[in-house]
């Protein structure tokens, strides 16, 4: 008997699939589908294959297939009635298997619409990324399509299906496309209704779904439950109509689906509500530690139990003011509880008050030793979707300054997570085998150390790749490695060209983090001593219209860091000096860019200076650039270094200088040295 049921299911499947695929609309739809995806994505979205499947390409595909699925299910469900075969069909000795076969055929026909998005992702590559993303994409797209189509079958089974019903299906689709987006502003868990998965547009190639925690699991569980529930309903409807009694397996399926959906849905809603409730709270200071300086951090992070990481930090603090200090105030994430300290501590939210046993006199320093531990997961809710910005777990680590994961002097007017430049060392022990990286250079296995550190960004993930390319330490996701290498090559060549102009920067290398997202990081990511730092995306290069503009951007990025490493000041809003110093800095960037592009060849530089690229700026900048090129012609690299040194030394004077006096200042800066 089961064999004959299977044969009937197969026959029904084959006939329905044949009727769908051989209808002229189906290939036409595929053609339009292919054109749409080709036009929208090929050569326009430079993310990895898995990122495409997780975001733009994947979401559009799932959303549109849902719409097609509703129509297709409507066509399948009404086919027998439409052609007046139903009356015959229902007298044959069949059961649910006929409906199941038809539904499966529609499902398979719809899954074939995933071919185009997958091909686009495959074209994007790399293959490993595609292979990693494909199972999840197929599962989630399949689940969505299965749910949508079975829902349409449930609604339409046994109903009189006129053409206007398609309008209702389209309205249903539209309401679930737009409705959750509108509802989430008032009730974030409404994102659960977004069965087409349109809520998420962000994807991290480094951490993947770690960012979303268990949320996708509960979401999927809810829809698996809904799918089973709807299947149960459909079987019940078939049995009621054909056999006039209830089907026990269908009732069990229905109840099981309901339990799964209830469980998944409840957990999903709780997850979102918890994230909403745990939004970062800022504890205001009644008085701050304006006179508290930090000289040295020595931090040990113990990952023996990644769910409860343990920290031990030794901070050398100093009194930089004129009054003695008897209390030190630090910020530390409220998730951590202090287990040990060499001084008495008090906790108030994310503030720690350290009561010194002896007053810290002006100019004196003191060591504060703190041990603290606790699970860390900082989440935010964006369009009803929970995204973690900072976390430590066995699958990965992302720690930005915003998470306040080590004690930072609490200053009421300072940027969160940043502190005065200090020596910093961090050692990660009992690492569960995760590749680790930071914005600090590694001095050993899982040990990072640098001077002039104002913030620390620690990352770990099985997908993380760290490569040394020339002087550049490339830190990127496995799937972004090829693109990262390309960027590293550009930055490496630019660094080699420009570094000689900044002899006091003492450059040992460069840290290039191609991570794909920078949330929680300080603006313009200040460098540490000896290592310019660039945090960027794999598609950074594509966003520049020409190779020259890209090179200028690279040159500027490195120059900004080298300038700071030589002690130059930058405006915090624009990441460059202002007034005439700004003009001088721009001229310097233009010169270095030209120098780098033409490999220091004077003739080519002179010719290149007249190119449209360089003429596009204002006349003043052109004149400044011209003067710098002349200085280079007359005095070579050393002359430029001299000018640069004077710019650093006389920054204040440059700020007061009228713009039109700048060329003369350049000239005098060289000749007077």
């Amino acid at each position: 008997m089961p064999n004959s049921i299977f044969h009937r299911l197969l026959a029904s499947f084959r006939i329905e699939l044949r009727l769908i695929l051989f209808n002229w609309v189906y290939p036409l739809l595929h053609l339009l589908w292919g054109i749409l995806f080709y036009q929208l994505f090929v050569g326009k979205d430079d993310r990895s294959a898995i990122a495409l499947l997780e975001t733009t390409v994947g979401r559009l595909a799932i959303g549109l297939i849902s719409l097609i699925g509703l129509f297709l299910a409507g066509i399948s469900a009404s086919r027998s009635k439409r052609v007046r075969f139903l009356e015959l069909e229902e007298t044959y000795p069949t059961g649910f298997e006929i409906i199941a076969g038809r539904w499966t055929a529609g499902f398979v026909a719809l899954l074939l619409f995933l071919t185009e998005p997958i091909l686009i992702a495959a074209k994007q590559g790399p293959l490993t990324s595609l292979l990693e993303g494909l199972p999840v994409f197929l599962f989630e797209a399949g689940l969505t399509v299965a749910f949508v189509t079975v829902l349409a079958w449930v609604v339409l089974f046994g109903q009189t299906f006129d053409r206007w019903a398609y309008m209702i299906l389209a309205a249903f689709w539209l309401s679930f496309l737009l409705g959750p987006s509108l509802l989430v502003t008032h009730f974030p868990p409404a994102s659960l209704l977004n069965f087409m998965r349109q809520g998420v547009s962000f994807y991290s190639d480094v951490w993947g779904r770690m960012v979303y925690g268990d949320q996708p699991i509960w979401f999927n569980l809810f829809y698996v439950g809904m799918l089973l529930f709807c299947l149960g309903l459909l079987i019940l409807a078939v049995y009621k109509r054909r056999f006039h009694h209830l089907s026990r397996p269908a009732v069990l399926l229905l109840l099981g689906g309901l339990i799964l959906a209830g469980w998944g849905g409840t957990r999903y809603i709780n997850t979102v509500l918890q994230a909403v409730d745990s939004q970062p709270q800022v504890d205001l200071l009644s008085s701050d530690s304006a006179d508290l300086g930090v000289e040295d951090y020595h931090l040990v992070l113990d990952l023996a139990d990644p769910s409860v990481p343990r920290f031990q930090v030794t901070v050398e603090v100093s009194n930089t003011g004129e009054q003695p200090l008897d209390q030190l105030i630090f910020r530390l994430n409220r998730s951590f509880s202090i287990t040990k300290s060499n001084f008495q501590t008090e906790r108030k939210g994310n503030l720690i008050f350290i009561n010194l046993s002896e007053r810290l006199l002006p100019g004196e320093s003191q060591f504060v030793i703190l041990s603290y531990e606790g699970p860390l997961r900082v989440e935010r809710v964006s369009r009803g979707v929970v995204e973690a910005t900072d976390f430590i777990d066995s699958r990965g680590i992302r720690l930005t300054p915003l998470a306040e994961w080590y004690p930072i002097p609490a200053l009421s007017n300072s940027a969160f997570g940043q502190h005065e430049p200090a020596h910093f060392s961090i050692q990660v022990v009992n690492n569960p085998g995760l590749p680790l990286a930071a914005n600090l250079p590694a001095i050993g296995e899982n040990v990072f150390e640098a001077d002039q550190v104002t913030w620390v960004f620690l990352v770990a993930s099985p997908r993380l790749k760290i490569e040394q390319i020339d002087k550049v330490i490339l830190i990127t996701a496995r799937s972004d490695l090829e693109k990262g290498r390309e960027l590293a090559d550009d930055y490496s060549r630019a660094l080699r060209s420009i570094t000689p102009f900044f002899p006091d920067a003492n450059v040992h290398g460069m840290i290039l983090m191609v991570l794909g997202e920078e949330s929680g990081l300080p603006d313009y990511t200040p460098p540490v001593s000896g290592y310019p730092l660039v945090v960027t995306q794999r598609y950074a290069k594509r966003s520049w219209s020409t190779p020259d503009t890209w090179q200028t951007f690279v040159t500027r990025t490195i120059t900004v860091d080298l300038w700071q490493m030589e002690g130059g000041k930058l405006d915090s809003r624009y990441n460059r000096p202002l007034t005439s110093l700004d003009q001088a800095f721009d001229a310097l960037v233009s010169f270095l860019s030209l120098y780098h592009r033409e490999n220091g060849n004077l003739d080519r530089m002179l010719a290149g200076m007249k190119s449209p690229e360089n003429l596009s700026g204002s006349a003043i900048i052109d004149e400044n650039l011209q003067i710098l090129v002349e200085i280079y012609r007359e005095g070579g690299q050393e002359a430029i270094v001299s000018v640069l040194q004077k710019m650093l030394l006389q920054s204040d004077e440059l700020q007061e200088l009228p713009y039109d006096a700048l060329p003369i200042w350049f000239r005098s800066a060289w000749t007077t040295l």
Partner: protein
Amino acid sequence: MEIVLENLTKDYGNFRSLDKVNLKICGGMFGLLGPNGAGKTTMMRILATLLLPTDGKVEIGGFDVLREGASIRKRLGYLPQDFGFYPNLKVFQMLEYIAILKNIPPNQRREQVDNVLEAVNLMGEAHRRVGALSGGMRQRLGIAQALLGNPDLLIIDEPTGGLDPEERIRFRNLLAQLSKQTTVLLSTHIVADVEFCTGLAVLDRGRLIFVGSPADLAARAHNLVWQVEVPIEQWSEVDRRYTVLATQMVQGKVQARLLTSNPPLADAQPIVPRLEDGYVAVIQNNHTQRGVRHA
């Protein structure tokens, strides 16, 4: 295959389509006659397990239609009044698909499909798309699908409407032949279709008003059928006063068969009633009785 109907009642809202119908069909070819709206199709659909009765009991071959519909469907061939097929499939594909649905073993499928195509004279159209068939051919395909699986019970509702005379005769002969092994239940309002039936029932306004053989039905008009010849100018008066069964023009006069208990005209000749005369007599008698009851 025995069919037993006990107090079969079917209501559509306030409208009673079948009213306590009791009937026992013991096999052979059984005809169900009745005017449009008599409840024939409702009864057919109940027997074909498509509709549930409101009240009463129906058993087919010992299987209860309410609880054992699946067992009945295994033994059933059904041709409804209004049906269609997937127009994009070819005739043989459609029948092979139906053969699978009817659980015909794989090794017999092709042979059975060929046999039914042969039986309904559609072999030459086997590779044509169903959508390209004429109305008559589609009707024959409907008959073919009903025959697939050699059912124990064939329920056929108004089958000959779309057939040409030659096909109609062929079809009747086919049914007569099939009824030797299969119970054939034929519903129609065309009296000629049931002439070969072994049993008959007449249904009118949801009630069974006759059960018997075709000869019994014809006998219901015994001594009630008269043949008259009337000048054409007097015809309208005759037509108004009597139930006219048939007319034809003979030498400028209207030759008519009239249904009445007394000689309608002085020169009226009593004639042997036909089946359709009996049918009209039964229907008219029922209407008269109802009229008396209502009065």
